[in-house]
């Protein structure tokens, strides 16, 4: 579904990604793991068109999207839920959700999708007329997920959905994500919360210093000696 081939990405003169390649298949839940500064967010920003790729190619559903502007990539069905939620703080919960469904297809089903999202996250329905900036961290993450789902994404890109949340909320958000994936949405997720992510994803890639260090299924990586030492502290 998504194929990233040998991409290099640089911020001005400073190169941060070297020769990154990976793919995500239809229906899969793939995680991108790594320490702070490994290049995870940069990889996601390159996919969704926020950053220009210096070398290499990104393909989505057989179409080359390397040079497309960000809004066109979103129109193709790649929806990026960015790190730190990045809601529209002075718009209401409902308006934030509406902003997720701008394209004709999603707009036609706006009411229907919103109803479904309210069923999954009842708190959002309760607070639908409150400004997004007034929500708690967990509620904001739910809204960010909901806003992404409003677009009826084919591929949902999640950047650190557990960031800044209490452990009990992390488990809840991860359950929500698993549920979204089970309903057929392909998920590409970046996480620092390595153990929990490896337990629920199908496959994972590990990034180190801007390069793919290793890859495998969740279980394989959980038993990998280097992973254990570097990320699990065992």
């Amino acid at each position: 579904m998504l194929r990233v081939t040998n991409i290099d990405v640089a911020y001005k003169d400073v190169q941060v990604l070297w020769d990154i390649s990976f793919e995500v298949n239809q229906g899969e839940f793939v995680a991108l793991l790594g320490a702070n500064g490994a290049g995870k967010t940069t990889t996601l920003n390159a996919i969704s068109g926020l950053l220009k790729v210096k070398k290499g190619a990104i393909e989505f559903l057989g179409k080359d999207i390397t040079q497309l502007p960000g809004y066109k990539i979103a129109e193709l069905g790649i929806i990026h839920v960015p790190e730190g939620r990045r809601l529209f703080p002075e718009m209401t919960v409902r308006e934030n959700l509406e902003m997720g469904s701008l394209f004709p297809e999603a707009k036609a089903k706006r009411k229907e999708t919103m109803k479904k999202i309210f069923e999954q996250f009842p708190i959002l329905e309760e607070k639908q007329n409150k400004e997004a900036g007034t929500l708690s961290g967990g509620q904001q993450q739910m809204l960010a997920l909901g806003r992404g789902l409003m677009a009826l994404p084919k591929l949902l890109i999640l950047d650190e959905p557990s960031l800044g949340l209490a452990p009990v909320l992390v488990t809840q958000i991860f359950d929500n994500i698993k549920e979204i994936n089970n309903e057929g949405v392909t998920v590409l997720q970046v996480e620092q919360n390595v153990v929990q992510t490896l337990k629920m994803c199908h496959r994972a890639y590990v990034l180190e210093n801007g390069k793919i260090y290793t890859q495998g299924t969740g279980e394989e990586l959980l038993n990998d000696e280097h992973i254990k030492e570097a990320y699990l502290g065992i």
Binding site: K12, S48, G49, L50, P69, G70, Y71, A74, E75, I79, H80, V81, P82, R86, L87, F88, P89, E90, M91, E95, E98, M99, G100, L102, F103, K107, R147, A151
Partner: protein, 295 residues
Amino acid sequence: MEDAWIKFGQTVICGILLGGMYSLIAIGMTLIMGVMKIINLAHGALVMVGMYVTYICSTNYGIDPYIGMFIAMPVLFLLGCLIQKYMINRLVEVDSILPENQVLLTVGIMLVLTEGIRLFFKSDYRSVVTSYSSNTVFLGDMSISVPLVIGFIIAMTFTFLLHMFLTKTDLGKSIRATSQDRDAAVFMGVNSSKITMITFGLGAALAAAGGSLLLPLFYLFPDVGHLFTAKSFIITILGGLGSTWGAAIGGLVIGLSESLGATYISMGYKDVVGLVMFILVLLFLPGGIRSLVKR
């Protein structure tokens, strides 16, 4: 004693009516500020160009200024879109040019517009005379000029329509979303460069509307724009940068204080009142009116 109250009431009402039209111009500036994060110092010049369009319609074709504004608005919308797309946007695309320096370009645009107009119309003071220009309505013993009343009503109608546009339509919501978080808006599929262009056009059209409404009340000359840039800048700061409601209220406050200053201090010092308020706001309420409303 009676007379003093009449004088006061008349001053307050005239100030608020005038302020309504200032609001419209300042809302245009604050919209552009919100989306582009720069103060458009060519804003007053756009007001001035809009006034000349309405002026030409009126003197050459006999079109009433309140109808002429509906010609000036689309003309300025187009001009604003072109300026954003082909001039300002070229600087936005260069990473090494800071937003602070994009402001310098708007100063250049302001100069070109002002001198361009001077080339065609000279520096002469002009005014539009309509059948109702000097008419007044009486409210008790207070007399209020008709163009002030009509101008205020139209300005408030536009402000209301703009509010509906920004809160009820997808395009309007996209403008607000882009000003709150540009990257997140792009992730949701907003074409941010198109939105930026439209916003600049919209800001210019509002400037033209405000200018046309003020045409029966002000003398028109190429440098009149500086006055409006200064006023809308003060109002934008007073309202809180990027806040449309703040700008609407800020406009009324500035109109009112100018009017009070003109009546009770001296006509010549009326602009000083606005500037003093500007300094006081920067010193004691740097977030503007918007920061008062927030929790």
